[in-house]
Subunit: 391 residues, 2 copies
């Protein structure tokens, strides 16, 4: 059999022929494909959307300040366009506001979901500072989408387990990083918005991080799996309920760690375990390591300090905090790392936390970044924390 | 620590507080959440979208005839509504046309991507006929997102490997089903639109299918992985180029099968291998088994016959077909299953195929369904084909 090499126009014909329900976006694509987003040499980005009847179309993206948007200009054919930037190399989410209605980019099929919040079109501006987020050629880890029994929560639950490049072809055992998401998120977050498997592949292949297993759980203790995947399984959570009831933390220790250590080739013991998480996951990291100072030698708290959550209706019990800090100090973890952005709305909570730790003479490493409570920061934090581990 | 149980309103506050860039859809959600889609007791479905400035909003979904849509009604606040159905229990994709612009449902964060074609909001109407698509409590398989070396295609490529419930906790070896997607799709298709892992869990747990490994490859030989995931890796394909150049078929035999048989606990040999695929994957199934009659005892060709692809610029070489059929007949596969919908645009190609097989005295099982070239049919075909295997 021989393929007569096809042209772009022919390729579209092929696409049309081989799917029955092609969708309306194709009517426009067929004749004159709209390219969006288009990134030029200087990292300026042009966005385009066909909306002939609209009075106003705006672009919103997470490189802009919160809730801001940019106007787009209407051309003769009803094609709205805007060119922005240059943008720093980074992974961004964006969407259009067509007469106020939030609309994904019809010309871009790369999308991600941010927990229960939203879906967005993805813009990837390649270049220095974002190399870790690109899948490269060469050896790669495997991502396992696993269901496990959680007697503690009385649920069959889902998590992701990343095994590093070479795991399948060796007999070696590996240390484990437990990596927690934030409030409103779920187990999908670190594999999509966080691009953790790609970051780990690239760090490990470059010799910057030790080969390790990375476990990404669902931190909402009332949820079996991401709500998008489980119409039947329990999934009442819209996020946040894992914030203070300690149930997730108990299940992490009683269910998750034993599952991982009995189903993967894992080096056990404190020196071979790391725990980190962002926001709600940072709180869960604090809680777990305060309750169990004997479990982890590497601890990372991202974008969360000692926060007063009472304004969210959450009462935290701080009465044992001094004893907890003392016990963790005695356990002497090798790394206790605190990371926060200057603009994070939880910045003050980290000031409070550092003050308490300083007063107790508890050693930690402090990393203050630019930016706020964002996946941009959490990807950077992972890429900085992972290289500190198991050395 | 103690959680003061939160109200829906508080939960929204929490969501808002714990993410900086929440997106504009939340403005409306915060005060008066819009519920869409809403499925009533009779499986009638109400869709809602807030678009105060729009002149016309329509609903389109894949339960409607191709390219059709339904008008929605505008209410006082600019909330557009339509109630349709009752719909048969099924997984559907849908979107809104807001003054002609294709828009996902802002109130529904469950979405899927159909290859290079489109993204859609997902509607799941539960009930008889769609039970296999619901994740249930109980044991479940693991989905492995694997990268493997393909010397044949000179690429590091991605595939999914489903291992059945109990795989991790047993020492058993399992037979393998290779499951191929269609033109324009990629390795994600069977795990999302096809819900293959859930279908297999449910069939295996009910004793209707033997525990088996299911391998879901990327059938575009010029593509390392789904284009959404690989900005750097080769991914020129927009689909269809795997249709006639035999390269994917060669890599399946030379790269994929050896990888699976050396990395998983697999029963080898013809009696323990099955191959099926839809559309382009059906053609690849024909090609692979004609070239290698010795490899598979279970063969399923979905929604593809002996098609004349010359109108798509693809020249197929049929000169050896009679010898190929004779060789496969001699090899005597246990199951050769052909499935097609009455309304499939490739229906006639299956008539042609059956005629050729009949003339050659080649035994096969023919399954004619209602409907066309759709994932509704391919989910049903998988749920019928898998129970025939390895018995």
């Amino acid at each position: 059999m021989k393929l007569v090499r096809n042209t772009p126009a022919l390729r579209v014909t092929l696409l049309l022929a081989f799917t029955l329900t092609v969708g309306f976006a194709f009517a426009q694509f067929q004749r004159n494909p709209i390219i969006s987003p288009e990134i030029d040499q200087d990292n300026k980005v042009t966005f385009r959307i066909l909306a002939p009847k609209a009075d106003e179309v705006r672009l919103t993206g997470n490189w802009m300040p919160f809730m801001q948007s940019e106007p787009m200009m209407k051309g003769d054919t009803g094609l709205w366009t805007v060119t922005i930037g240059p943008l720093a190399p980074e992974l961004y989410g964006y969407s259009f506001l067509v007469d106020g209605v939030n609309t994904l980019d019809p010309s871009n099929k790369s999308i991600w979901r941010d927990g229960a919040f939203r879906v967005e079109s993805i813009l990837f501006v390649r270049g220095a500072g974002a190399e870790l987020y690109e899948p490269m050629t060469g050896p790669k880890g495997t991502l396992h989408k696993v269901w496990y029994a959680s007697p503690t929560l009385d649920l069959t639950r889902r998590m992701y387990v990343y095994t590093p490049p070479g795991y399948e072809d060796s007999k070696e055992s590996y240390p484990v990083l437990y990596l927690l998401h934030g409030g409103g998120g779920d187990e999908d977050a670190w594999t999509t918005l966080g691009v953790a498997p790609t970051i780990m592949d690239n760090l490990i292949n470059a010799g910057k991080a030790k080969p390790m297993i990375v476990v990404m759980t669902n931190g909402n203790p009332d949820q079996a799996a991401a709500f998008t995947d489980s119409p039947v399984l329990p999934n009442p959570s819209q996020g946040g309920v894992g914030m203070a009831n300690m149930k997730f933390e108990q299940s992490l220790v009683k269910d998750v760690i034993p599952y991982i250590e009995s189903h993967y080739r894992v080096k056990t013991g404190k020196t071979n375990r790391a725990l980190t998480g962002l926001s709600m996951g940072g709180l869960q990291t604090q809680n777990t390591t305060f309750m169990h100072p004997e479990l982890f030698d590497y601890i990372g708290v991202m974008s969360m300090g000692f926060a007063d959550l009472s304004r969210f209706g959450i009462k935290t019990d701080d009465s044992q905090r001094a004893e907890q800090i003392a016990a963790l100090k005695t356990a002497h973890p090798k790394v206790y790392w605190i990371a926060i952005g200057k603009d994070d709305f939880l910045y003050e909570s980290v000031v409070t936390m550092r003050k308490a730790l300083d007063e107790a003479g508890f050693p930690y490493t402090y990393r203050e970044s630019t930016g706020g409570h964002t996946w941009t920061n959490w990807r950077i934090y992972l890429s900085e924390f992972a290289p500190m581990l198991f050395k």
